[in-house]
């Protein structure tokens, strides 16, 4: 603080000197300082050497002082600094010199507090050149008298000297200014000049706001570009995914020919929601001996994580059927082989083989409802149905063979079809069967699915439909249904075998005899097969040995005649 104040004094002195030089006005104001002016000539002349170094130092100091003067206590201090020389008895000139010095300073650099400290600013400007030097001498002496200002003593002398050079610097721009004007007035585009003018008058904050707006615009543009690129990438990914899903779907739900072997085939699929990749699957293919095989299934659940398991079941079943296994045996083998590979998943499946030469359809279901048959068929025997594959229980115990004459059709569908919601209930297999029969023998899977969807309020599950019908010219068998159940000691003991025979309308005495024979066979071979033939004339039951699991390809003969035990 102190040093800054001193620097101000020095700067004031220097400016006063320069202003005095610049204004060699008329006569004096009556101060006696003029007398001493001549004496000061010598020191002033010796000073120039260190001057250049001192001047730059003084100028910034003065600036800082100006800033500091805004503080409340600054004016008082300044006043003291300026006034201190005044009482000095030996240097009355110095007082005069310092005081008027403030005047030009005030005008050139608005050091407001300095103004009140200068009671007579005007006279200083009218002083001749030698007055300035006199003042300098006086200032130089000041330190000696007042220890307070002793520090600047060294600086003052050199600083005062550059008064002239400073003035020259000050006047230099002034001299240049006239020269610059012609350049400025050189012919330039009015538009550019207007823009320049506008730029000059535009306030700083507006410029900042405009810059911010421009930056925001650029950011938005970049964001839009990024979004556009991202959207294109997503669309590409989506198409690729859809293609992948389509590939997966074709593996589980293949597009089929209208005729497979000597059967007319139609399929339909309707996913519950979203891309079709879920638990439903079907396949219809011709076996080597001209028969037509059909697989339809439903894995509990949806989503891509179950697709591998679904595919495993579907292709395993197909392989077993192509190897010549009967539908029931195919399911049994699949269950025992795949149980540990399904990751705890449960699969319902129906497997069927249509033999055109006999006109009979043999099917087996595991956790899957039996096919709907049209026109009217006797109701299927549901008792002791086989559980799904992967349920931890033996499956593939039941098998049914029905006559499928020309003009009839079998419809296999997943539970999503029968479980559609109608009001507060489910449609149920009977209602779906009635609709299927009403559509007529030529109806395809698509028509049935459309009809079911139309007649229901909501379809919460995937729906798959497979319709198989004999082509004209297939055999026209006598209407007969053959129901089979493979028994083991457990089924024999817990009454399920009895229940099955009762459901097949087998007379109780015949049933008892059959169960006795079965028990004997089980005791010897571990299992036995109950075979019930149902026709218009009644039901007969026989006991058969279990079929060999593996049959030669293409030599899948019809079931050997069971040993008739009852009648």
């Amino acid at each position: 603080m102190f040093r800054a104040r001193v620097a101000l004094v020095v700067a004031i002195a220097a400016m006063a000197a320069s202003s005095a030089l610049a204004a060699p006005g008329p006569g004096n104001t009556g101060h006696d300082s003029a007398k001493h002016a001549a004496k000061a000539d010598a020191p002033a002349a010796t000073a120039p050497a260190p001057a250049p170094a001192a001047t730059p130092a003084a100028a910034p100091a003065a600036t800082t002082d100006k800033q500091k003067k805004t503080k409340p206590d600054s004016p008082g201090q300044t006043k003291r600094a300026v006034q201190q020389p005044a009482p000095a008895p030996a240097t009355p000139v110095a007082t005069v010199a310092a005081v008027p010095a403030a005047a030009p300073t005030v005008s050139e650099a608005p050091v407001v507090p300095a103004a009140p400290a200068a009671p007579t600013p005007a006279p200083a400007t009218s002083k001749p050149k030698h007055h300035a030097t006199a003042r300098l001498v006086a200032v130089t002496r000041l330190p000696a008298v007042h220890p307070v200002t002793a520090v600047p003593a060294v600086a003052v002398a050199p600083t005062a000297a550059p008064a002239a050079p400073t003035q020259r610097h000050a006047s230099a721009p002034a001299a240049k200014r006239p020269a610059r004007h012609p350049r400025a007035s050189q012919p330039s585009l009015p538009l550019i000049r207007n823009v320049e003018h506008i730029l000059k008058v535009v306030p700083g904050w507006v410029r900042i706001a405009l810059a911010a707006l421009a930056a925001a615009g650029l950011l938005l543009l970049a964001g839009a570009l990024h979004q556009a690129l991202r959207a294109r990438r997503l669309e590409r990914d989506r198409r690729r995914l859809a293609a992948d899903v389509g590939l997966l779907q074709s593996a589980l739900l293949p597009a089929l020919a209208d005729e497979v072997g000597r059967a007319r085939v139609s399929t339909a699929y309707r996913p519950a929601a979203g891309l079709a990749a879920g638990g439903d699957f079907f396949d219809v293919f011709a076996l080597a001996d001209g028969r037509t095989a059909l697989i339809l299934g439903d894995m509990a659940g949806h989503g891509r994580e179950i697709v591998p398991f679904t595919a495993l079941v579907r292709y395993s079943l197909r392989a077993y059927l192509e190897a010549g296994l009967a539908p029931r045996v195919a399911l049994q083998v699949a269950s025992s082989v795949l149980e540990s590979q399904l990751g705890g998943h449960m699969v319902a499946a129906a497997v069927a083989v249509f033999a055109p030469d006999t006109g009979r359809l043999t099917y087996a279901c595991a956790g899957q409802a039996p096919p709907l048959l049209a026109p009217a068929f006797p109701p299927s025997v549901m008792a002791v149905s086989s559980p799904p594959i992967g349920a931890g229980a033996v499956t593939g115990r039941r098998q049914t063979t029905v006559a499928l004459p020309p003009g009839s059709a079998a419809c296999f569908c997943t539970d999503g079809v029968t479980d559609v919601r109608v009001a507060d209930r489910r449609m149920g297999p009977d209602a779906v069967a009635a609709r299927f029969a009403a559509l007529g023998p030529d109806a395809g899977a698509d028509e049935l699915l459309r009809e079911v969807v139309r007649a229901s309020d909501s379809q919460p599950d995937d729906m798959a439909v497979c319709v198989l019908a004999p082509l004209p010219g297939a055999a026209d068998p006598v209407p007969e249904v053959v129901e089979e159940l493979e028994l083991d000691a457990e089924l024999l003991a817990d009454g399920r075998a009895t229940r099955f025979l009762a459901a097949c309308s087998v007379e109780s005495s015949a049933a008892a005899a059959a169960l006795l024979a079965a028990a004997e066979l089980i005791a010897r071979r571990g299992s036995a097969v109950l075979v019930v033939r149902r026709s218009a004339t009644g039901a007969t039951v026989g006991v058969d040995r279990p079929r060999a699991a593996i049959l030669p390809v293409g030599r899948h003969a019809p079931a050997p005649a069971p040993a008739a035990l009852a009648g």
């Binding site: 509990a300 449960m346 319902a348 549901m382 229980a393 033996v394 297999p429 919460p460």
Partner: protein, 99 residues
């Protein structure tokens, strides 16, 4: 014993699965799933019951109580009565579970 009511489908299966898992984890002697107030059960819910039954192991038994015709049809057609025994009343089911 776990008693449920209404329709058991994809919207309720996770809740039921959790309830069954809690029961199985509680080291109870056996589990009875009472579906007498249930009018429909889908394959996912059945799978949940079957999974719980398998986790119970051989020592602990499970039984299902059901009397709604549609539920009985689903269990019968699906061959599930050979996986988990079905009973008409809770008393019969309890007798089975207690051995």
């Amino acid at each position: 014993m776990l008693a449920v009511s209404g329709e058991l489908d994809v919207s309720s299966v996770s809740e039921m699965r959790k309830a069954l898992e809690t029961l199985v984890a509680d080291r109870v002697g056996g589990v009875i799933v009472d579906l007498s107030e249930v009018s429909f059960i889908d394959s996912l819910s059945i799978a949940a019951i079957v999974a719980a039954k398998r986790r119970l192991g051989e020592e602990r038994r499970m039984a299902i109580v059901a009397d709604h015709p549609y539920v009985l049809l689903i269990f019968e057609a699906g061959g599930l009565d050979s996986v988990v025994p079905l009973f008409a009343t809770v008393d019969l089911a309890e007798a089975h579970v207690r051995g």
